[in-house]
């Protein structure tokens, strides 16, 4: 699936007109987004739960080297293989090599945004391996030939009728718009795939370094199938998504499921610790953990952005974001959409390339308030914008617009010189008479300012400024 963050404006312009999309996303907002904060408070840590979870994530990320080394050692002690992949290509190559060794013909996948990030499906298909997404939402978007539009609810942009039509077309089943019937159809179609695949690939929600387990939550049970039935199981995990101890898991998983799905706990919390043992008649013969860097260590090195690595990928910030609610996930042109994507994607794919993402958010702060680890996304969005405005050597950012920089430079000179300011406003007041009006408002501003009035009118400058009126009033009073 080719995704392009430079198409943001074009896609967003289309999506803001899409009433169906807004209805679908509104359900996520009402059912999950608005409940999350209330659910956090039920925990023993009460109102301080987000801060408590943040502290745990901070401890882990600030000591990532120690946690990773221990995890690698523990997984190997359990007979699992660990590969540290520097880039997306490296991770893909490793998965393909394992697939080749097992002569894999069919892969079943559990939901993994990281696999979207490294574009694994395309590579597997190109190698002639049938690749089947098994999460219901992922399955729907895969049948449709699309990318997921939400971090945890990939097909949330579809109505039940659209899913019904899709299944009728692709699975040759009678049309229905009944979600339980549609789910049963997918259950049947995918069971066959899951029981016959040679290889399972899934993401992970976290890992436990001290015990040597990858921790995966799911409600559908597809990830348990993926990790249990095929001969080999590969887990893809970002290097930052690990945890040190079982105690860390307590607050992290409780916050994750509340934020992601409004649940106290998911149906399944699986601790996967390597391949089957000799005395076990089931389970995979081999277990591989692929820890992917792909730009994360670069973020880690910048104290201003390190915080974004605390993210647990719950998708909670999407469900409350007014921008995401209007433009949907596809507009972001990246696997990670919404506020978290607007920070993470520019940092990994280039701030200039992804400038629309951080410029498109409103900085309203809703994402920070709902974040289970209290990630200050608005702060980082502002920082990205300032790098775009001024340029930045560390992140290789070119000033986004020299003209804009020039205009704001001039503006700052004007604003700090009274005489100049007064002279220019007088000039503007005289000039605005030439501009077209509607109900007393200016309909079009000239030149580059025209963009502002494309969708709204602009209030004209008053005949006299506040300073002028104030000065006159005080003179009049003194005269009394």
């Amino acid at each position: 699936m080719e995704q392009n963050p430079l198409k943001y404006k074009e896609l967003a312009a289309k999506a803001v007109q899409d009433k169906q999309l807004h209805k679908a996303l509104g359900k996520m907002r009402d059912k999950v987004g608005r409940n999350a904060v209330k659910l956090y408070k039920e925990l023993p840590t009460g109102a301080g739960s987000r801060e408590a979870a943040k502290e745990v994530r901070r401890k882990i990320v600030d000591n990532l080297d120690v946690v990773l080394e221990t995890l690698i050692e523990s997984i190997r002690a359990r007979g699992g293989h660990v590969h540290l992949a520097e880039t997306d290509a490296d991770a893909v190559e490793y998965c393909l090599a394992v697939a080749k060794r097992f002569e894999v013909r069919r892969v079943v996948k559990g939901k993994s945004m990281l696999s979207e990030e490294i574009r694994l499906n395309d590579a597997l298909e190109a190698a002639g391996i049938e690749t089947v997404e098994t999460d219901l939402g992922e399955y729907i978007v895969q049948l449709k030939g699309e990318a997921p539009s939400h971090i945890i609810a990939p097909a949330i942009h579809y109505t039940r009728e659209q899913v019904g039509e899709l299944f009728a077309e692709k699975l040759g089943v009678p049309y229905t718009s009944d979600p339980p019937t549609l789910t049963a159809m997918a259950r049947k179609a995918l069971r066959e795939k899951m029981l016959t695949a040679d290889m399972g690939i899934s993401g992970g929600n976290t890992a436990c370094a001290e015990t040597g387990h990858v921790t995966i939550v799911s409600n559908e049970g597809n990830i348990r199938m993926t990790s249990t039935m095929p001969r080999v199981h590969i887990v893809l995990l970002g290097i930052e998504k690990v945890a040190a101890t079982l105690e860390d898991h307590d607050i992290l998983l409780r916050m994750l499921t509340r934020a992601a799905a409004g649940q106290k706990i998911s149906t399944y919390v699986s601790y996967v610790g390597g391949p089957r043992l000799d005395a076990e008649p089931d389970g995979p013969e081999e277990f591989h953990l692929v820890l992917v860097d792909n730009g994360r260590s670069r973020i880690l090195a910048d104290p201003d952005f390190r915080e974004v690595l605390h993210c647990v990928r719950c998708g909670g910030c999407l469900n409350v974001c007014p921008v995401y609610m209007s433009i949907g996930g596809h507009s972001y042109g990246s696997p990670y959409c919404g506020p978290i994507g607007a920070v993470f994607t520019p940092l990994t794919r280039g701030i200039n390339t992804c400038h629309h993402l951080c410029q498109g958010e409103t900085l309203c702060g809703a994402c920070k308030e709902v974040c289970p680890v209290d990630n200050d996304l608005p702060r980082m969005l502002s920082l990205l914008r300032s790098k775009l405005a001024d340029g930045d050597r560390r992140w290789n950012v070119k000033p986004h617009s020299r003209i804009e920089k020039l205009i704001f430079g001039a503006w700052s000179v004007v604003m700090s010189h009274r005489g100049l300011y007064d002279a220019l406003t007088a000039l503007a007041r005289a000039g605005q008479r030439l501009l077209p009006r509607r109900n007393g408002w200016i309909r079009h501003l000239p030149g580059p300012l025209g963009g502002w009035t494309r969708g709204r009118d602009f209030p004209p400058l008053a005949a006299k400024s506040f300073a002028q009126r104030w000065a006159r009033r005080s003179t009049a009073r003194r005269g009394e």
Binding site: M194, L195, G221, I265, G283
Partner: protein
């Protein structure tokens, strides 16, 4: 491999072996002590209340049995009343566990429904594994016990081990768990604390109700890819 760890160290501006490990893996005293917390009779009563409440919301069918004899009879009746989802064969696969032995399902269902037990051996040949796989897939009911039952979420902790395979609670359409009430603990936190004090097996799953999804219009549907029906029998000790 170590290059990436080295890059992480550089990014963090830290040295290897500078003694941070102790602090990173330290556990709070409160956490460690909750493993051995002794509940009062009142707390225990509250646990049952909580399990009943949670089970209802989860569509987890809860049965309270006075003893294993009654439980065995109830499980057998349930097996008779249900039809297979795939195919027509009525077969049950169960964990190899002394508690499940005592249910006497084999003789209760003799002649009607085949009851198979997870084989126990030091190792399994590929053909034995294939055979077991076929039998699990052919079963419409999987019966397990649980190592712990978590009161605050009505969750079962299933720890792997000989005779306690991953697939029995996953592949059959109906999952039945039989748990003595002495195995009820307070919470997920207490579970993690208990597990910190022992060595964890190669896999563990915490199961909370039947499988479900909300991927179509955020509408909750029970019965996704895991069991579509789940029964929890709590047996009085």
């Amino acid at each position: 491999m170590s290059q990436i760890i080295e890059r992480v160290r550089q990014a963090l501006g830290v040295q290897a072996g500078d003694g941070r490990a102790r602090q990173v893996f330290a556990k709070s005293r409160e956490f460690l002590e909750c493993a051995v917390a002794q509940p009062s009779a009142q707390e225990r009563a509250g646990w049952m209340e909580s399990i009943r409440r949670e089970a209802l919301a989860l569509k987890l069918h809860l049965h309270e049995s006075p003893d294993l004899e009654a439980c065995g009879e109830a499980v057998a009746a349930l097996a008779r009343a249900r039809d297979p989802e795939w195919g027509t064969l009525k077969q049950i696969m169960r964990w190899s566990d002394p508690i499940l032995d005592e249910l006497g399902l084999e003789h209760r269902l003799a002649g009607d429904i085949a009851v198979r037990t997870v084989p126990m051996a030091d190792s399994f040949s590929p053909s034995e594994r294939q055979e077991f796989r076929r039998e699990v897939i052919a079963s419409y009911i999987g019966v397990t016990t649980a190592d712990y039952l978590l009161a605050d979420t009505a969750s079962l902790a299933l720890l792997g081990g000989p005779g306690r395979t991953r697939t029995v609670s996953l592949v059959p359409s109906i999952h039945i768990a039989v748990v003595p009430d002495s195995r009820i603990i307070a919470s997920y936190r207490q579970l993690l604390s208990l597990l910190s004090a022992r060595s964890l097996p190669s896999h563990m799953t915490v199961v909370t109700g039947p499988s479900k999804t909300a991927d179509i219009e955020a509408t909750l549907v029970h019965g996704a890819h895991g069991p579509r029906e789940m029964h929890l029998f709590i047996v009085a000790s």
